[in-house]
Symmetry: C2
Subunit: 225 residues, 2 copies
């Protein structure tokens, strides 16, 4: 029997959907966190939540907006996938450059992914899921998609033929690939071949594949019940 490893007590716990509405496609935000943890080689536990449990006071004490994912490690409880990825990136090597200026730029890409690129993409998801039966849906959707294309064009120009957004793969790339993956199935990213290849490079990383398999296993287990 091995001696107790003090690090065993430090395994963080994240939360995820008990039954993901994306049917195992890995589009829920626990993927951001799973992928980050896999990149740095940090094992983790998962607590699955039903939609009703997410809105209960016990979960809202950790996540004020009643969502997933959360991250608990000892006395620390965090919400917001971007903040959780950043916390992981600060405490482990592999997701942020050591050079101070390069690190600041990688953090800028984290914010760019979540606050410049993602909002019109989420707006499209809302339109497709919740406004599909509204009389304006057909006329409004192309307007939303044009907003997305404006951002994608700028991102495509900046990426050019680089492998990642600014030097080595970083937490900025992780979040950007995750945000662009939300468009999967829409065909929109395919209009920007360098971005489509960028997303594919992200998805080909062993850490991504392990994270994807882990969330898919949750979906498959729920489906078999």
């Amino acid at each position: 029997m091995l001696a107790a490893n003090p690090e065993d007590q430090m395994t963080p716990t994240i939360t995820a959907f008990e039954q993901s509405p994306d049917r195992g496609r890995g589009l829920a935000r626990d993927m951001h966190v799973r992928w980050a943890l896999e990149e740095v080689g940090q094992p983790y536990d998962v607590r699955l939540l039903s939609f009703s449990a997410m809105k209960e006071p016990a979960h809202r004490a950790i996540h004020p907006f009643g969502q997933i994912p959360t991250y608990e490690d000892g006395e620390l409880a965090l919400f917001e996938s971007g903040a959780i990825v950043f916390h992981i990136a600060e405490r482990h090597a592999g997701l942020l450059p050591k050079n101070a200026n390069a690190r600041a730029r990688a953090i800028a890409w984290m914010f760019a992914a979540l606050s410049t690129m993602e909002p019109p993409i989420v707006d499209r998801s809302i339109a497709v899921v919740f406004e599909r039966d509204r009389p304006w849906h057909e006329e409004r959707l192309p307007i939303v998609e044009d907003r997305i294309r404006g951002r994608l064009k700028d991102l495509s120009v900046r990426l050019g033929d680089s492998e990642w957004l600014d030097g080595e793969f970083s937490a900025g790339d992780l979040l950007m690939v995750e945000v662009l993956r939300r468009l999967s199935g829409s065909g929109i990213v395919d209009g920007y071949p360098n971005l489509a290849a960028y997303v594919a490079r992200g998805e080909a990383r062993p850490a991504f594949r392990r994270a994807f398999a882990a969330q898919l296993a949750v979906f498959n287990a729920a489906s078999n019940n």
Copy 2:
């Protein structure tokens, strides 16, 4: 004559609108950065940009999406207001707690402001500015505002009767107040008296008032030309 101060060479330069579309109400995102710089007592220079200059290659080299604000300090050039505020908060005392867990939670509120709270608020701005003449505007606006109220309700419950979101004023409060200020004039925040008081507390801070006066001076100068 005073001896040259080496810190003089370190005055950062930010960019802002030459003519802000908000007519001096301080709703553009350079306010996030001005306020943060004022909180930590860091002087700064401002380079004003026209709407066409923002889209030129010279500016896009710094900001891939052709927006303001940017932040330049020596060899470092940053974009994304959230990332710039974080960079300032990391390098100066006053915007992030020293305790590691409290610091991580303040960063979570930064991301919450920009990626959970702001998107429906920006969606409302887009609806009001760009979709006002669309046939669906009148029917869709209440739907967007209900989404905003859902977030505000959760935030109001979490804030309770606290002064700030998690202990001392932090960069998380700075960004949250800024995001809520985007609703000024809509009356929506007034439905949550503790949030309205929270915004007022932010706006009453001397650093906020200096930042606000600085952006207003730019608007007034442009108007007098």
